[in-house]
């Protein structure tokens, strides 16, 4: 009896109902337990176990990514470590590991240390320090084994300086120049330094604005004029008055823009000279100096005297930079705004392309085509398309979209830009279309199922009112199937946003100089190559000069990619729930 109570609680419905008979039998005096396989209990444990394992793995992965991503930007203290060979290193302790000490090293150690290591089974602990100062040392990281450490300290005046180039600097700020005179710095938190730094940064931003913004605009106009001239010359290959007029116009416009350019360049030059003149002197723990323009310091803080609030400030400012800025240092530092933008833009375009295509196909297959062998074959083929390796889609996208379609577009509409391709190479549009092709089976299958699930009574009700087939589909079937269709789109979106391999062939680049969106007509430039979070992860983690430096970036970017996909899916799910609620209670 006790057994019955347990099984009927845990067993699936089918099993439970069969077991419901047993108490009667028991009451008749013959307690008979079904054998284990009939009860399905072991099977149930297997199912539960598999589910639990899956959930644990997914959760573990998410927690790992989340934790590593969240702590990356939190400021760490700087430790100064004196080693047995009297050298000193200063750096951020990054991680510790246990390692087997090599024989030669062991031989060189004093006896007591050797004994200690031997007691540990030949192993010792070591810590990885991020020492920075790549320009001085030629490496960013340095291991320090416990047995070679004499002492550790955390001096208050050590500073972590984040720079535009060469990565971080760990050391002290000795002095900076202001209007030609040198000001000594004793306290890294001094307001005079902060003030000078802010001015220098503002100047640096101004230089960038002139170079990228204003000079960029002039260059854009100049390029437009050049293209217009080429086009005119292509249209009138034998010269003539039209060609002459175009030449004259170009000469006039060119000198106009040239003058503008020179004025801007002169302004930028003056600012740059100032930028170069105002320097800061950095000194590492061993007294080596590095002089560089003050404006190239992205951020600095005295890591060992930060209060909690100060740490939070640094933390948030790093996140802000990460989310809104462009990458620096081969993507291992700076922000990833272009990649976020590229990913979102591509996913949206993907949805815009895949939805009508998939839904119309499914509508035809389910509602209009005669259900025969041909339709079955088409359906099976569509399902199988989902299993084609995604890189194959990349090859197809490059060959068909970029070279054939894009090449023809270039011939027809942009002859003046040839031989440099406009649409004839990978770009945002082709990437989106390639991914749309990759994900369209998902949408088709989901839509077909959703359409099939619309109750027959609804269709009949509409037809009986004198609605045509299309009216019925439009007014009754499609709205009813919408939640299911949305599910398909969500799945397609999730798949598409996380896909990287095909993108490498059709438009994703390591560093995109221009966003696909800007202030020049037609504002959205679908032909441009773009950055993508997925590719960014690959690039930073596995293609950069220093993978140890890229590692935290990989985690943060992964976290961001997951968050982004999650946010996009959540939006779609909310929309779907809204729709579903509209149809709730249709069965009673």
């Amino acid at each position: 009896m006790a057994m019955d109570a347990v099984t009927s609680e845990t067993a699936p419905p089918g099993v439970g109902s069969r077991q419901g008979v047993m108490p009667q039998r028991a009451a008749a005096g013959r307690v008979r337990l079904a054998d284990l396989s009939a009860q399905g209990e072991p099977w149930l444990w297997c199912l539960g176990g598999a589910l639990a394992l899956g959930i644990v793995m997914i959760l573990g992965f998410l927690v790992l990514v989340f934790w590593n991503g969240v702590v990356t930007f939190w400021p760490k203290p700087i430790e100064v470590v004196r080693l047995t060979d009297d050298s000193v290193i200063a750096g951020l302790p990054t991680r510790s590991a246990r390692f087997r000490v090599g024989d030669q090293v062991l031989a060189a150690l004093p006896a007591e240390k050797r004994a200690e290591i031997a007691a540990n089974g030949g192993f010792a602990d070591r810590t990885l320090y991020r020492v920075g100062n790549y320009d001085l040392y030629g490496e960013d990281f340095r291991w320090a084994a416990d047995f070679e450490v004499v002492d550790r300290s955390r001096p208050m005046d050590l500073v972590l300086v984040e720079r535009l180039e060469w990565g971080v600097f760990v050391g002290r700020i000795a002095a900076f120049t202001r209007g030609g005179e040198t000001v000594r710095v004793d306290d890294p938190t001094s307001p005079a330094l902060a003030e000078a730094w802010r001015t220098a940064r503002a100047r640096w931003h101004e230089i960038r604005r002139i170079e990228k913004g204003e000079i960029g605009t002039v260059n854009h106009h100049l390029e437009q004029e050049r293209l217009r001239l080429r086009r005119a010359l292509l249209e009138h290959p034998d010269g003539g008055p039209a060609a002459e007029a175009a030449r004259a116009r170009f000469a006039e416009r060119e000198s106009h823009y040239q003058a503008q350019y020179e004025a801007l360049a002169a302004r930028a030059q003056a600012l740059k000279a100032q930028h170069e003149a105002e320097t800061v002197t950095l000194i590492d723990v061993n007294g080596r100096e590095k002089v560089q323009p003050l404006g190239t310091l992205v951020r600095y803080h005295a890591a060992n005297q930060l209060t909690l609030l100060g740490k939070l400030d640094v933390y948030l400012s790093r996140w802000a930079e990460f989310l809104t800025d462009e990458p620096r240092e081969a993507n291992t530092e700076g922000g990833i705004m272009p990649a976020i933008f590229g990913t979102v833009a591509m996913t949206l375009l993907l949805v815009i392309a895949v939805t009508p295509f998939g839904v119309i196909t499914a509508l035809y297959l389910r509602e209009y085509a005669r259900q025969g062998r041909l339709v079955s074959i088409v359906r099976i083929s569509v399902n199988n398309l989902a299993g084609v390796p995604s890189i194959v889609y990349g090859v197809f996208g490059l060959g068909f979209f970029a070279y054939i379609v894009g090449g023809s577009i270039d011939q027809l509409f942009y002859p003046e830009r040839l031989p440099s391709p406009t649409f004839g190479t990978g770009g945002l549009l082709w990437a989106s279309l390639t991914l749309a092709l990759l994900t369209v089976p998902v949408v088709i299958v989901a839509t077909e199922e959703a359409l099939a699930a619309v109750p027959r009574s609804m269709r009949e009700g509409s037809l009986a009112c004198g609605a045509s087939k299309w009216q019925t589909i439009r007014n009754i079937v499609l709205p009813r199937a919408l939640p299911g269709i949305m599910t398909g789109i969500i799945l397609a979106m999730a798949r598409g946003a996380g896909e990287v391999a095909p993108l490498m062939l059709v438009g994703v680049v390591k560093l995109a100089p221009e966003l696909p969106i800007d202030g020049f007509f037609p504002f959205i430039h679908l032909e441009r190559s773009f950055m993508h979070l997925g590719f960014h992860i690959y690039d930073v983690g596995f293609q950069s000069r220093n993978s140890e430096a890229g590692k935290p970036m990989v985690f943060v970017t992964t976290l961001l990619l997951i968050a982004l996909i999650f946010a996009m899916n959540l939006t779609a799910i909310i929309v779907r729930t809204r729709l579903k609620r509209k149809f709730a209670g249709s069965q009673f």
């Binding site: 009986a464 609605a467 007014n475």
Partner: protein, 277 residues
């Protein structure tokens, strides 16, 4: 009329001429069915059915389960077109117009035949939009006309008082009986000539059933009503004529009072008194 009807009846074996004793509505024939047979694939579901449905009256179709009542009813507005592998023979005409003629306009035919299904099937839209649906698919944009028609139809379906304050609420929030009356309102909003009802009360409780029966009584005269029912009392209460079908054949068709008091065919008697079926 009765003469003509008698001549129309199929000359199938076992059909007793006295089994055709229809009460006339005085407004002629609404639907004419002649020698009508239907096959689902190879399985024949209707055998040479022939009957004239009197305009303005309520005609009940009764018979044991699976005898082809729904099949016949759904032939009247060509709802069976949706089913694959169907084949028909014979003729169905609405006011002299053959609805299975190759040139016939199915949509126009369906607009002339309102249909109410066994299970209420309101659309997942507002109550108002449900009733306005036949007008909308007709392309009618006139707001006033739509408003008026919706109100008239809801009043006609005896639902107006209950829903007039919640016209914009989702129709799926109504009770089953209200939903069925909403479906009736929707069916009459398109101003059809004939109302086809396939067991409209089978999913309803007795009170809702009574309301619908009352409603049919009020609609009598405005519309020609054909109702399929398993409920003998209901058939007796609401209908003027009753057709008894058995195994895909029309056995007896005549005035309801006669059918339920002294039927001409022994099998009808057996069925009505509950001796079989």
């Amino acid at each position: 009329m009765a003469e003509a009807a008698l001549k129309d009846r199929p000359a199938t074996d076992g059909f007793d001429p006295t089994s055709y004793h229809v009460r006339e509505g005085g407004r002629g024939t609404a639907v004419e069915i002649r020698d009508f047979s239907l096959w689902y694939g190879t399985k024949q579901a209707l055998f040479d059915v022939g009957m004239s449905i009197e305009a303005g009256l309520v005609t009940a179709l009764i018979g044991p389960s699976g005898c082809g009542k729904s099949t016949l009813l759904r032939c009247l507005n060509r709802m069976n077109d949706l089913i694959d592998g169907i084949r028909i023979e014979g003729r169905i005409a609405i006011e002299g117009q053959d609805i299975y003629a190759p040139a016939a306009d199915v949509i126009a035919i369906r607009k002339r035949m309102g249909m109410v299904f066994q299970k209420p099937n309101p659309f997942p839209m507002s109550i108002f939009e449900n009733v306005a649906y036949p007008l909308r698919v007709d392309g009618i944009r006139d707001k006033v006309l739509i408003q008026e028609t919706v109100e008239r139809s809801l009043r006609g379906a005896a639902l107006w008082e209950e829903v007039k304050d919640r016209l914009n609420e989702n129709a799926l929030g109504l009770s089953g009986g209200q939903q069925q009356r909403l479906c009736i309102a929707r069916a009459i909003a398109g101003s059809p000539e004939v109302l086809l009802m396939d067991e409209p009360c089978s999913a309803l409780d007795p009170i809702a059933t009574a309301k619908i029966e009352e409603l049919m009584d009020e609609l009598r005269g405005q519309f020609t009503i054909v109702i399929v029912t398993h409920n003998m009392q209901q058939a007796a209460r609401v209908s003027d004529n009753t057709a008894f079908m058995y195994l895909g054949r029309l056995i007896e068709y005549g005035e309801t009072e006669v059918m339920f008091t002294k039927p001409k065919v022994a099998r009808t008697q057996d069925y009505i008194t509950g001796r079989f079926g």
